[in-house]
């Protein structure tokens, strides 16, 4: 468990260490453009 006296900074360090290397992320942009454009609202409105 986290030490209470170590405070918020320790938790930030835990978060950073846990998230150092996530699995590779595919490019989400083309899918986002398709989904955004196909939403029925139309982009930019």
């Amino acid at each position: 468990m986290l030490r209470e006296d170590s405070g918020d900074q320790e938790f930030r360090m835990v978060l950073d260490r846990a998230m150092v290397e996530l699995p590779p992320l595919p490019d989400l942009v083309p899918g986002a453009v398709r989904r955004g454009a196909g939403s029925g609202f139309g982009p930019g409105r």
């Binding site: 468990m1 986290l2 030490r3 209470e4 170590s6 918020d8 320790e10 938790f11 930030r12 360090m13 835990v14 978060l15 260490r17 846990a18 998230m19 150092v20 290397e21 996530l22 699995p23 992320l25 595919p26 490019d27 989400l28 942009v29 899918g31 986002a32 453009v33 398709r34 989904r35 955004g36 454009a37 939403s39 609202f41 139309g42 982009p43 930019g44 409105r45």
Partner: protein, 167 residues
Amino acid sequence: MPTTGRRDFEEYARARQQQLYRTAYLLCGDADQAQDLAQTTLAKLFRHWKRASRAENLDAYAKTVLSRTFLSEQRGRRREHAAHELGSGAPKSGQHPDLRLTLLAALDTLPPKPRVMVILRYWEDLSVESVATLLRCSTGNVKSQCARSMAKLRAEPGDLHLYSTES
């Protein structure tokens, strides 16, 4: 959308998608769900790019969309977290897999809104005021919820502190 607007969106989205995904991962606790949440966020940004691109702080706008989308999805979903789901997208050796699983399991004990507050406050390093604005609640609410959540995380038996001083 004009070509330049689309190009601006794509440039912004490519620069920010990794960070959005990481935040989404901490919120969802699952790689596939996080990818979907990040993409939904980007799709909403694209749909409203004209307005979004005029925002005073576009990153804050994107975080707002991400957080509210997560909370909205949580309202209609009874979350099921089998142990193997926490391990989805399993890290390779040397990537602190135990820490990540321990952290996600601890975060999973928090209700959705306090979890969002904790992630925005301690992962995204937003101020109490910014979190309150983003989630449309009072600063007192953010402070009390974060304090309660941190107390709960400290009481979790996952030995998270062991990793914070690990070399």
